[in-house]
């Protein structure tokens, strides 16, 4: 528990005094008797890459789904860009969601639609957000930022797993969100493709100046991409720090992650 306490201090000041874009306090969620989140706390600051690491089944996806309102937490507060999630009605929530890009664990491309239609989908309701720009040019731009402009008229099934993940990333980016949530961006990919995805995530970070919350259990991914890390253990933010700090920690549970 010592690790968690030292971390509280760092997060309250924030790196370089940057503003908080996402703030989670005392988040709790259980399914029947299965207590998944048990008072989870987290801050995401403007422009940083925060990695939340946890074992498979530790509730990472549950946490990130609470953040976008796909799941209702039992208690606790989630503040995104200064707005308390639980106080929003449906249209307000939809508007807020345009500021959040979500990369799903298995890409989640619509398999009955072409790549173009997949990217068009978020624009259907929110074209106004990107200043009535021509849909086509937005789609091309997003696809180019993941280097897949030539796949425009292909179906997702015709793409490799890595390409699907990149298209999904383009779809998450198309509304130019301020925050991007990545649910296991490298899961199910071979190491080389995984490296490509991580490289893309970094490029996108440089280009769009987004704040990223990356959920993973992949240590390599965490080392490369993270500015800061939180370890999710037993439903709480067990430890917090940079990759270097955590990987040299003496704490048993922390060390288990880096073996």
């Amino acid at each position: 528990m010592k690790a968690a306490q030292t971390s509280r201090k760092t997060s309250s000041s924030g790196p370089d005094g940057r503003s908080r874009v996402l703030e989670i306090r005392d988040l709790k969620k259980q399914f029947g008797e299965n207590k998944v989140l048990n008072g989870f706390n987290m801050d995401l600051f403007q422009g940083e890459n925060l990695v939340v690491m946890g074992r498979s089944g530790s509730g990472k996806s549950v946490m990130i789904k609470c953040v976008v309102g796909l799941m209702q937490p039992d208690s606790g507060s989630i503040k995104i860009l200064g707005k308390e999630l639980t106080h929003l009605d449906r249209p307000e929530l939809d508007t807020l969601r345009t500021e959040i890009g979500f990369l799903f664990q298995g890409s989640a491309l619509y398999d009955s639609m072409t790549v173009r239609e997949n990217l068009e989908f978020p624009l259907r309701r929110h074209a106004d957000k990107v200043g009535n720009r021509d849909t086509e040019s937005l789609i091309i731009e997003a696809l180019e930022s993941v280097k897949l402009a030539h796949t425009l008229d292909l179906m997702p099934a015709e793409l490799s797993g890595g390409m699907q993940r990149r298209v999904a990333l383009a779809r998450a980016l198309i509304l130019k969100p301020k925050i991007i949530l990545y649910d296991e961006p490298t899961s199910g990919l071979d190491p080389i493709t995984a490296k490509e995805i991580i490289k893309l995530m970094q490029d996108i970070q440089d280009e769009y100046q987004t704040s990223s919350l990356i959920i993973t259990h992949d240590v390599d991914c965490a080392r490369v991409i993270s500015n800061r890390m939180i370890l999710l253990v037993d439903g709480v933010n067990y430890a917090e720090g940079t990759f270097a700090e955590l990987s040299t920690s003496q704490d048993q549970k922390v060390r288990a992650f880096f073996k």
């Binding site: 796909l70 298995g106 398999d111 309701r125």
Partner: protein, 260 residues
């Protein structure tokens, strides 16, 4: 030994299912009348429903007409009542066989298709992806599909009926030398508005049942790929059962109106 607790659990879960299905249906009606309406997807789904089942409904209808007429012919001949054939076949097909057989085919073809499609969209998080990109997935996926079923089923029933009657006419033409004109004159003489209206209304409800059950099973699919198979399968079973229950209710209601 039959375990009482086991039976009680089954009964409970049956009623739970009925309750959940009713809530799903009422949500469908609420969301169907609230803008925005997904026209493009609705038309798309109408095309799919028609395209997927038209051939099957047509062929089945045609064969049922043929077989039905061939088999009842000897009996009618025996009583010297073979001239009643067109009206008898017409009434049976239009009132009962046409709607029920068409609906059963659609339950197998469309109900399972919707269950599998929405089920796989659920387990691969595509439905979640829609939700976060600002499109209400219930409206986009469920409302359009159920409405497509409701509108297309009566149309398919009409086509099935027509082909069944045509099949029946062919038999009569070959065996009894009845002309097209004579055959269909007799059919339409026998049919009244009171036969067509209930069977059309019934078909709308059959469409509703097939669409709602397929969507419900798929939308709440869980347990990965295995769950998708289960969703498709139970969609057909539940929809078929529901069709017979609805059909029975329709017959009872129609009967009451006839007595008035």
């Amino acid at each position: 030994m039959v375990n009482l607790g086991d039976i009680r659990d089954r009964v409970f879960s049956f009623f739970e299912e009925v309750g959940a299905l009713s809530r799903f249906t009422s949500r469908f009606f609420r969301e169907a009348f609230r803008p925005p309406f997904e026209w493009a997807e609705f038309l798309n789904q109408c095309y799919y429903v028609g395209n997927r089942s038209l051939t099957l409904v047509g062929i089945t209808g045609f064969i049922i007409g043929l077989v039905f007429t061939m088999q009842s012919r000897p009996t009618l001949l025996e009583f010297g009542a073979v001239s009643w054939m067109p009206s008898m076949v017409g009434l049976t097909i239009v009132r009962e066989v046409g709607p029920v057989v068409t609906a059963l085919i659609c339950a197998g073809r469309i109900g399972s298709g919707i269950g599998a499609e929405l089920g796989s969209m659920r387990v691969t998080e595509q439905i979640d992806a829609m939700e976060v990109s600002g499109t209400n997935p219930f409206k986009y996926l469920v409302v359009t599909r159920v409405l497509a079923c409701i509108f297309m089923l009566p149309l398919l029933v009409l086509i099935g009926d027509a082909l069944a009657l045509y099949g029946s006419y062919l038999v009569e033409h070959v065996k009894g030398d009845v002309s097209f004109q004579l055959y269909f004159n007799q059919v339409f003489d026998a049919l009244t508005f009171g036969d067509l209206l209930p069977s059309t209304i019934k078909s709308f409800f059959f469409g509703l049942a097939i669409g709602v059950v397929g969507c419900y099973k798929g939308y709440y699919c869980s347990h990965g790929t295995v769950g998708v198979g289960v969703a498709a399968n139970t969609a057909v079973v539940v929809a078929s059962l529901l069709l017979f229950i609805l059909d029975f209710m329709a017959v009872v209601v129609t009967d009451i109106f006839y007595d008035l």
